[in-house]
Symmetry: C4
Subunit: 350 residues, 4 copies
């Protein structure tokens, strides 16, 4: 066995991305975490603590990583998470990510805060990308955003509920903005002693009643993203959501949050195997993906890692990152004696 | 949800304070810890290990952080701990802290070692600050100090019992001293083999008998500060104290002390919900405040953090620090689906 | 007791090796770990966490470290693991390692990827070294390699099964190659969406059926190397292997793998004391060897440590490293009140 | 309570010692640990993990730290451990340490490897120091050493049994040597394959039979030093030793050893309160002493800390270190509400 294969590490893409990003604050924005970064560290630490016991000598002939999600077939369970303003990181923006995902048998979930139009992004992809919805402060405004996505051909949707408070720590360059959104309504004036949170942002946040309305209104596959508590997972299931995304937003919203992998296990045990679960926050290697699948996820979303590829090398860089992680996942499967994703999922049923 | 909000971190105030402080040793004095700093690290570590499981989509309309303590109403449960010699950190000293606290719906607990007169400090505040008592070596001397505070209009008192041994590692500048205290009595001469502790300082320390006397003598709301053991909390309750402050003096007295958060939980479970508990030592963010409240505290006292604001920017800096931590507390509450402090306190009753 | 003895630490050999290695990438290759190095760290950490309780005043007169393995007598239980391309590290290559092992009452396990011929290496040793087999993609090719080793007089064999995927991160210099192997077969062309792993490397990997064939074919002592799961250990025992090597390949194959010492304990408890177990991955001192023996190993294999000696000082350096670790093992035994390896093995039977 | 007291930390003595030591290798020798220093780290870590819950307001009037050991009264339970060749660290050598101990109400345990004569050292002390015995390879040689100490007036003895192998990593300067010892016997020639340990050093090591002989021979208070296992403690008790010293030789003999504090607790629980236990290895503060006493020790021995004082400032430095740790112990007692050592010992009886 003398064939040689050099696996480039994700670390190399991270370094190249930092070298290539033009906007001085864009790199900080990409890497930013809430508070002292404890949530992000907890995400990484949870994966670092997992241990694999290899099983050599298993015949894994005919093995593969194919899967089906909401009627769509994928070569592997590695999708691209919604990330805002991708033109900050490369001039080809979301189009590059969408094209790379499509070419690699994956898909991009397009952010509400995309810096290119929904139509442009869809045109860059062989199969329609998915669309991520941020609540727009009212049902009417939210409906108008969804209608635009439907008209552009999107037919799988994901509403993010974990970040009613949007934090942007720097001024975007004038040419980069959320081109698919309406101009936000001006906030009402406040008394000095009023609460920024309760009397301000939270008035724009959606509630479970809004989720019920959305589920009834939208006759498409619909996922809810940002669920960490088992009771909320059961609530979403009862409302008829088609799936959910366990995520702590990559540690960007609340510092000191439960790590994503622990939340995944708890929620999978609550849901049994009745509802598809996607997972993000902390995936940095193919072994991490293996652990997420073995903990009950049906697929994972990459966040910062594919943006490293985008910043380093546009669509080609995104494709390389997807391929790197797929190869690592396959090698882990082979060393663990697993032929298919179903073989891995069995592990979460014990 | 595209509104942007930039939360300045407490870290920035700490850095600015260090840059502004004039007295070269004052910064070291402010940051100083007992021994190797293990108590202080344990305080911070206890908070760092807490994990939150967010609950999005809860309707928190009308939420607020108001609370009542000893008949006084506050906008939020964040008070300012007694800290000595504040003119070391800013020329406006305790007056600046008192004014900022008052403007932000909080209050300052004025130290026995204040560098401005009780009358000056009270005059800077719309509502009367609280007064912290250090035992003055005898009942007579202690009574005279309290009488002066009563005459100046103070009517909530807090006696500190955890630091009979006062450590000051540098010579104060001549113009800064404890202006409200009498000249200390000269200590008696000692034999060479005599104990500095048992034959020296501890002769000046108060006992539980002195606490009973103080409680009977002072007909005002009276708290006892520096309690860490559940039996001492029950003792204080039996003597009729109106509340207690769980504190290890910010790690400045005894190295290797139990962390403040663990002590809080133990004491709250011993007291049930019968006595108000204030808490200090280790608070550095709004999430920390949330954890203290969820562990049984009715309010928290800031220590070094508000002095960072004072040193960086006088009264305005103190106000900014209070507001920062209040905003963080509110955001944590909103993400956790909690409308009021009572909703948080429920967590400590399980 | 004033005799003085200066134990040179293995750290010194590591530093000297780094200074001596000529090929710029050879050092990185030697130290390389899979992924982020978590497996390697876990190996070291597992040893670091062991605690010894010394037993002074025991009469250990006549103590020794002699042992018998597969009919061969050794002065001590410290063998040299198969490591590829040793001419990268010193011009005398595998011959130097074999000669040093022989002189120190140990043996070298010669790698399939040796940079000198099997005949040259055997000639450098008083007693025949052992031979390590990598599966050659088919039974025919593997048979031809074994036949060559048999002809050269080798009569103890060890097949490595934990690394179907061979990773070489740099181009070898032209004069250094696996001189004992046939030219590898060219891989078949692949479709773009095909799997590098399942449709590529793994087609060359052996299976348990191949192991059964090998065991039946080869009428010599035969060990299986790279077993970490108790069920695989039992499987190997059932097939009639003469022993096994618990190893995670020094953390070079799969990142996030179980640490080698935990695997050893689990496997020894599964096998009772019915089958000899060798152990590698993480040995850096005589105390580590003591812990491995006390956890159920019959002998250990050194990996990187003896290459440090080889690079630093050729055969003499290898001999010094063996002697250093033997002396440390003996000193640990003496301080623990153990006279022989059997006394240590007793510890694994509780 | 405005009196100020500045506690100099032991860290300052350590830094001054390093600056003052003339022999370039003497500092390394003083700080040296076995192997990777894991035993030493474990010692320190065990203390760092202890937590104190202060008990203010207790009347500790008349408190003190006096104790009686083997018929001798001490002001406090802080003795000086046997340390070799003290003239390496200061020209006044063991005499300075003995004089300082005597002045501070403590005592020095003089090492068999002292660099000054037993008579000189005894002359520097008001009360006779104790004498530490290293086994001299035979009962005859050991007897002659003890007879010399008896003649010099020593009447409390301590035999060290944990270091049959003496490691000295550098050449002593010619004027510094173990002046009280006979010239060692030349070791017999060895075969190349012979064991350095079993065929060399260990032939000089004492056994339990030698301990029985020593106990019967020496009609003075006799302690055994270097016990870590409960069975060995019980064995020593049965032989009639007057006390024992729980010690891992400051982490200088065997790396990966159990930490000293855990061993102390286990041994005290085995012995109940029937035999005095002294303790060393890891004491760096008065809180550490408090924890050792609360874990079952009757007194502690300082090691490196007093040599820091000796190197920094001769007898005065040793006295300052003793006083520093005594003051810290007293302050800890006062804050914990403990008046006497008996109050602390009560804690180990739960």
């Amino acid at each position: 066995m003398t064939a040689s294969f050099d696996l480039p590490s994700l670390k190399r893409f991270e370094a190249e991305a930092q070298a290539h990003i033009r906007h001085p604050q864009a790199w900080d924005y990409l890497q930013d975490c809430a508070g002292l970064g404890r949530t992000h560290q907890a995400n990484l630490q949870a994966f670092a603590e997992q241990r694999l016991v290899p099983r050599p000598l298993v015949n894994v002939g005919g093995g593969h990583t194919r899967c089906e999600l909401f009627g769509q077939c994928f070569e592997h369970p590695i999708l691209l998470a919604p990330i805002a303003y991708q033109m900050l990181f490369h001039a080809h923006g979301e189009q590059a990510s969408a094209a790379a995902a499509s070419a690699q048998g994956s898909t991009l979930v397009v952010s509400s805060l995309a810096s290119q139009t929904l139509e442009q992004i869809a045109a860059a992809s062989d199969t329609p990308p998915w669309f991520q919805i941020y609540w727009q402060g009212s049902r009417e405004r939210t409906s108008r955003l969804i209608d635009r996505a439907l008209a552009a051909g999107y037919h799988t949707f994901m509403i993010t509920v974990d970040a009613p408070v949007k934090q942007a720590h720097f001024e975007l360059p004038p040419e980069i903005y959320a081109v698919n959104l309406e101009v936000p309504a001006a906030p009402a004036a406040k008394h000095p002693h009023q609460s920024e949170v309760f009397d301000g942002w939270m008035r724009q946040a959606p509630t479970w009643e809004d989720m019920a309305w959305l589920r009834d209104t939208l006759n498409k596959p619909l996922l809810i993203k940002g669920i960490l508590h088992r009771d909320d997972a059961l609530h979403a299931q009862k409302l008829g959501f088609d799936g959910l995304v366990v995520s702590n937003h990559g540690g960007r919203v609340l510092d000191g949050c439960i790590d994503s992998l622990s939340a995944l296990r708890d929620i999978r045990s609550a849901l049994k195997d009745e509802l598809p679960i996607l997972f993000d926050s902390g995936i940095r290697s193919g072994q991490d993906i293996y652990h997420a699948l073995a903990s009950g996820a049906d697929a994972v979303l990459l966040g910062r890692p594919y943006i490293y590829g985008l910043a380093a090398n546009g669509a080609l860089g995104v494709a390389q990152v997807i391929r790197l992680l797929r190869d690592e996942l396959e090698m882990t499967m082979a060393l663990m004696g697993k032929r298919t994703l179903d073989d891995i999922h069995e592990l979460s049923k014990n």
